[in-house]
């Protein structure tokens, strides 16, 4: 019984989710079929799912790096938003997608550096500062898209679309909208991060930030430097996700840009067990949930069901937490 705590917790979360579906008047078996079809049913569904999964994986990777170094980054949402805004500005100025991606990453890096430096230099809890900066980023976006960065006709609360030359290279697939370079970036960077963490001195320093802070000092680096760098890299990845979203999918920034991707990233990073390679399937899972539920909304006529993904994100985190806690307790008892 106790050995299967993790599986039991996961089943419990799934059971609760299905109960909720039933309460909404949807037979669980039918719901599952419709969910799967909505997320992976045809090429267009795949493309939509992958387009959500790519920025989500990047954000989750960013959250994960900070976690692995012993800091809590709840600020991927804000870092993504400023990354997207910077990418629009850079793309409009240079008409180059490389500039857009670099600007996005740089903006995310700088935005994350504020809570990182406050945390390492002054001991300010980064959970609070990143949360607050999410609020600031959202207000900044709302102001910019109705003020200095608003589209020229000044009718809609959004920026002007970026020049076509700044779009990410895209592989056209029939009438599906196609797959852009963002997906390749989202598949490549987890490998880079995994290798960096496991094979390099930098990775050792970053990992030691959480596991054995004294070891960082032994490698000749102050702990503060390792943690600030990890946090900054995390912010850069979330900012890059914002740039990928703009240059690959939306072409412009409006108020509905992120829809909580940066928060979902926390769930994805935890579901991935803080392992870089595992963020890809974890992000795919949550992205599939998002596209699946939003198609369920129309297919089965269940208004609001697209919010179901958030509930499952929460339940999944609770299930993982319960499984980890029970395992720890069991190991504690065994010792």
């Amino acid at each position: 019984m106790r050995r299967h705590a993790g599986a039991i917790a996961a089943l419990l979360a799934a059971g609760l989710a299905l109960l909720l579906l039933r309460a909404l008047g949807l037979a669980p078996s039918r719901a599952l079929v419709l969910l799967a079809r909505g997320a992976f049913g045809d090429a267009a569904a795949w493309v939509t799912t992958l387009r959500i999964a790519a920025p989500l994986a990047l954000c989750a990777l960013g959250v994960l790096i900070a976690f692995r170094c012993g800091l809590w980054n709840i600020g991927a949402e804000g870092q993504l938003l400023v990354g997207a805004l910077a990418a629009v500005a850079a793309a409009s100025a240079t008409a180059s997608c490389t500039a857009a991606l670099l600007a996005g990453a740089l903006a995310g890096f700088l935005w994350a550096l504020v809570p990182a430096l406050l945390a390492v230099a002054r001991g300010v809890p980064e959970v609070l500062t990143t949360l607050m900066l999410n609020g600031v980023a959202l207000e900044l976006l709302r102001w910019l898209v109705t003020g200095p960065m608003q589209e020229p006709t000044r009718q809609f609360p959004q920026t002007a679309p970026i020049p076509v030359e700044a779009h990410l290279p895209r592989l056209e697939l029939g009438r599906t909208g196609g797959i852009d370079l963002g997906l390749a970036i989202a598949l490549l960077l987890p490998i880079v991060v995994a290798l960096t963490l496991s094979r390099t001195t930098l990775g050792l320093r970053l990992r030691a930030g959480a596991q054995s802070p004294r070891l960082v000092a032994a490698t000749g680096w102050p702990l503060a430097r390792a943690r600030a760098l990890a946090f900054g890299i995390g912010g850069a990845l979330a900012g890059l996700a914002g740039a990928v979203e703009v240059a690959g999918v939306t072409d412009a920034v409006d108020r509905s840009l992120s829809q909580g991707l940066g928060y979902a990233a926390v769930a994805a990073a935890l579901l991935a067990g803080l392992k870089p390679m595992a963020v890809v399937p974890a992000a795919l899972f949550f992205a599939a949930l998002a596209t699946g539920t939003s198609s369920l909304q129309w297919e089965a006529n269940v208004p609001g069901i697209d919010r179901f993904g958030l509930v499952v994100e929460g339940l999944a985190i609770l299930a993982i937490v319960a499984a980890l806690a029970l395992r720890e307790r069991r190991e504690g008892n065994a010792a």
């Binding site: 909720l20 909404l24 809590w72 709840i74 504020v114 406050l118 002054r122 001991g123 300010v124 809890p125 959970v127 609070l128 500062t129 949360l131 607050m132 900066l133 999410n134 609020g135 600031v136 207000e139 900044l140 709302r142 102001w143 109705t146 003020g147 928060y263 926390v266 769930a267 935890l270 208004p303 609001g304 069901i305 919010r307 179901f308 993904g309 958030l310 509930v311 499952v312 994100e313 929460g314 339940l315 985190i317 609770l318 937490v321 319960a322 980890l324 806690a325 029970l326 720890e328 307790r329």
Partner: protein
């Protein structure tokens, strides 16, 4: 002038209660990151109970939101105290669940009848939420300073080992603290539907719960401080509301609205930066098992 004061009081109400909820939770040593979600759940519950029922349905509506908030507090306690899980992770998860579930129900129920607000009943009833909040603040002050439980709660947040040595139970104390905190958070949400608007809108808390996490610092983990901090931010909201009404007529620049809206967040960050780590008034064992 009375108009402005009334507006400030109305906008401050949910902030005062939310901050009070967080003060109680953090005094016991647990950060409640799902405050925003608990408020949403309280707001939806109050609306569901009160909608179409007139003034008579308001009391049951508030009681229901207290109960839902307490239930969510119990869930938080189950994981954080019972399983010794990280409060940040559990709070984030609970927030997702509340945000998703309230959005889901909102989509299915929107367009239903609205609830009667306290102000619509008029007369003495319109003062009930404000007087009630003052009484609640006073009650929490008494609870914390004059009762054994209050002493235990502060010990559980400051120095659990000492509490254990004195024969108390940090775990049980924290669970009760989170039940109270959750109930007050639910009530804070209920004021959005029964005092401010009369209806529920998805995400209507608009970050108030997150802001309250910062207001706790300004309140210095003190119920009276929660009252003052809430009133301060309420004034800022009232100011911003008046300016944005004028700016839609082309008088005030959008940049000013942005500054006023971002100000609460920026002030919190500044206060945190100036205070540095774990200032004297913060519970000593905040965030530690």
């Amino acid at each position: 002038m009375t108009d402005l004061l009334e507006q400030i009081a109305r906008l401050a109400l949910p902030l005062v209660l939310a901050t009070l909820a967080e003060v109680v939770a953090e005094l016991g040593g647990v950060v409640n990151l799902s405050l925003e979600g608990m408020m949403l759940a309280g707001a939806l519950t109050a609306w569901l109970v009160a909608a179409g029922g007139g003034g008579a349905a308001l009391a049951p509506a508030l009681l229901a939101s207290l109960a839902v908030g307490a239930a969510l507090g119990a869930l938080l306690a189950l994981f954080v105290v019972g399983l010794r899980a990280n409060a940040i992770v559990v709070g984030t998860a609970l927030h997702f669940i509340c945000l998703g579930a309230t959005g889901l129900f909102y989509e299915r129920l929107k367009g239903s009848s609205s609830a009667t607000t306290f102000a619509e009943i008029g007369g003495a009833a319109s003062a009930v939420p404000y007087v009630g909040t003052l009484v609640l603040v006073a009650a929490i002050v008494l609870l914390l300073t004059r009762t054994r439980f209050g002493l235990h709660l502060r010990a559980a947040g400051d120095d659990p080992a000492a509490l254990r040595a004195a024969g108390g139970s940090p775990a049980r104390t924290r669970v009760i603290g989170l039940l109270i905190a959750g109930a007050i958070a639910g009530l804070a949400g209920a004021t959005l539907t029964t005092v401010l608007t009369g209806t529920f809108v998805e995400g209507m808390t608009g970050g108030r719960g997150f802001l309250a996490l910062g207001l706790v610092l300004f309140a210095r983990w003190n119920p009276i401080g929660a009252l003052l901090a809430g009133l301060f931010l309420g004034s800022l909201f009232a100011l911003e509301l008046r300016l944005s009404t004028r700016s839609s007529q082309g008088a005030a620049p959008g940049a000013l609205t942005f500054v006023l809206r971002a100000l609460p967040y920026l002030l919190t960050i500044t206060a945190l930066a100036l205070a540095g780590p774990r200032k004297s008034s913060a519970p000593g064992a905040l965030g530690r098992p």
